[in-house]
Symmetry: C2
Subunit: 209 residues, 2 copies
Amino acid sequence: MTRHDAKPREIEFWFDFGSNYSYLAAQRIEALATGAGLAVAWRAFLLGPIFREFGWDTSPFVLQKEKGAYMWRDMERQCAKYGLPWRRPSVFPRLALLPARVVSAHPRAPWLGAFCRAVTRQNFALDQDINAVEQVRAALVEAGVEAEAVLAAAASDATKAMLRALTAEARARGIFGAPTFFARGEMFWGNDRLEDAIACATALPSPAS
Amino acid sequence: MTRHDAKPREIEFWFDFGSNYSYLAAQRIEALATGAGLAVAWRAFLLGPIFREFGWDTSPFVLQKEKGAYMWRDMERQCAKYGLPWRRPSVFPRLALLPARVVSAHPRAPWLGAFCRAVTRQNFALDQDINAVEQVRAALVEAGVEAEAVLAAAASDATKAMLRALTAEARARGIFGAPTFFARGEMFWGNDRLEDAIACATALPSPAS
């Protein structure tokens, strides 16, 4: 058995809090991963800089109106299928710098799942401004976290640099949209591939015990 | 019960023979539809004119290299998942005017499923030129059809006009990619939505008997 096999099993979840299909994955991933014996590595990055490198100044769902019109209907149906609440946001895509910085500053915190579910629900079920301090604070409180210390850490220069580095890493690894998952070095794009990514991650030999 | 409810249940399958995700759907749809008591309405159209209206001169998988690189790996995995043969075509996207005209000329033929499976397999498992008469003839023979009469009908001006009208209809109905399904007036995009489209179509009340 190689040293690689002895690493804890995990699935990397790369997402943008402003991405609608990331909402579906953020709500679903922890329960699926836990059921499969996997840890989730939460990687909140910014799609905006990646889209700008493609020459786009906003989401392709805005730039391509046919695909955008379809996506809104698809989201209604997907949320109904998964039993998730849904309200079309009045602003799309929403900037989500502050909640992404919170994740960058606490990449292994046990409350990340609850926090990310709260923020994406604010955006796609409650139509709230997820980049506002008061909303991020409310999501932290909902996740059972002492909010002020986390907000202070999120505002540090070190955290800002971490988020920039994470977004550069996303670009370097070939990420072109969100959500994107990595399992055993394989990249999977889109909420529709979450189950495939989990299956890939769990196909690893058991860690040495 | 309205007159609409008395129509035979069906799922419309809009695809381009050159589209890789259409290959997956073309191989899968008839068995799934038949199992659900649905007829398949085969609608082979051309994506090229639609992409050109978006300002693209070829497939987005060619224009956006990150997404293209991902797609080829995704196809390998998807074909493995579905148990379908796979070989990356040496030409992509392949022009597929002639097989699309065959479908336009015979929109209700019982051999369409076998023919469409044969042509998409030529493209994505055998790396053959699906726009060549000899390949289309071979696909017709494989589908048990008297090939020469069908090829003659495919070359008629009426057939060419039908395919142009079909592609215009695709545009008018908001189709922006392939495969696309319609069920009960709902549009579903992508092979990943085939099961959802079938479920939607079968949610119809039973036809009056």
